[in-house]
Symmetry: C2
Subunit: 186 residues, 2 copies
DNA sequence: TTTTCTTGATTGACTAATCAATAAAGAGAG
DNA sequence: CTCTCTTTATTGATTAGTCAATCAAGAAAA
């Protein structure tokens, strides 16, 4: 029973953040969306912030799966690079509730050490994936990786607000930036 | 008296966000930091969210001044470009409390139309400044401007968490990315 | 019968916002 | 200059509402 309840609650909190656009959602409303009482939610998660952290872990796990499966099929360094970037803009990472949760995650990571730890985990993974893919492609992979990671996050951030305003798909913009950095003018 | 109190409160809310790392700061604590009662804070600002919006307007105004004064001295398109980017990483835009406030601003902008309006204002200004500077430098200024803006926000975002981890100054990274896009390999 | 689930009800704490009341500061009128 | 009168500034106390977290007790399952 426990795993079912936990998963339902995790999904409910993500949906609720998406629906209300805020983190200040009463536990009772989250629990109601998941079809249970607030007491039961507390029973399984203890403090409320654990619920949000569980939701972020879920989002990060999904993201990680997306990257891994994309990388598994990539044979060349260039293909790996493309795979990482495209995965960052995959459908599953780009739903309204997920993007909302990310914004609150950034805010939360400033006060909650646990959230900060999770965020650094994401950042380190992205960085190391990029460096690995870039090593055969440039003589300063760290620098290019940093710039690429920043561009990914920045595009994600902007897409979070005016999704249609970007003239191009997010991944295409990032890819063309990276191409420029690799001296391969578009 | 009113303008003095307002300014003190705006500064206090920014400092308090920086100190506590959270937006859930009681009005009473903000007021105390500004040396007055919570009732007085409400007297001048009405609802609490107006206080935060005033603080963001203050931060945005400061940022705008920074950009304008940098642009005023720039004579060439290239100098304008550099000025915009460097201004985004100016000391005054980069204090711990200011960066914290930005993170909450992003989160807030998802639920508060007023905050969203402010955020779009910032984004539009940055975009138009960049396009103007880039027009003589490339044949697709809009695309390059979008990528540049995203990279600025992305670097800012990352610097918000591990300030020392970046191998280089934020503005230098952005500049080298832009140089690449303009076909001027570093 | 013991363990796992489940909840209604309660507690306890916190806080935004308001209000009534006090102090201070000007602003003319004599 | 001094005495009202009005406006502005200021706060302590109160209100009213919210909500996280707990608990005791009941239902289900093993």
């Amino acid at each position: 029973m426990e795993p079912i309840r936990r998963e339902a609650l995790v999904q409910a909190i993500i949906d609720e953040i998406g629906a209300s656009g805020s983190l200040d959602v009463p536990v009772s409303r989250i629990a109601a969306r998941a079809g249970m009482s607030s007491a039961l939610a507390h029973h399984y998660f203890g403090k409320k912030d654990q619920m949000f952290l569980a939701a972020m872990r879920h989002i990060l796990r999904e993201y990680h799966r997306e990257v891994c499966s994309a990388l598994a099929e990539a044979r060349t360094p260039r293909a790996r690079l493309t795979a990482i970037i495209v995965a960052n803009f995959a459908q599953s990472c780009f739903t309204q509730p997920t993007v909302n949760a990310w914004m609150f995650f950034y805010a939360q990571a400033q006060a909650s050490p646990e959230a900060a730890r999770l965020l650094r985990l994401y950042q380190r993974r992205l960085h190391s994936n990029l460096v690995h893919a870039l090593r055969p492609l440039t003589d300063d992979p760290v620098r290019v990786a940093e710039a690429t990671a920043a561009t990914i996050d920045g595009i994600y951030l902007r897409a979070a607000f005016d999704v249609q305003h970007l003239s191009t798909e997010g991944s295409e913009i990032v890819l063309s930036v990276v191409d420029s950095m690799l001296g391969d003018p578009k």
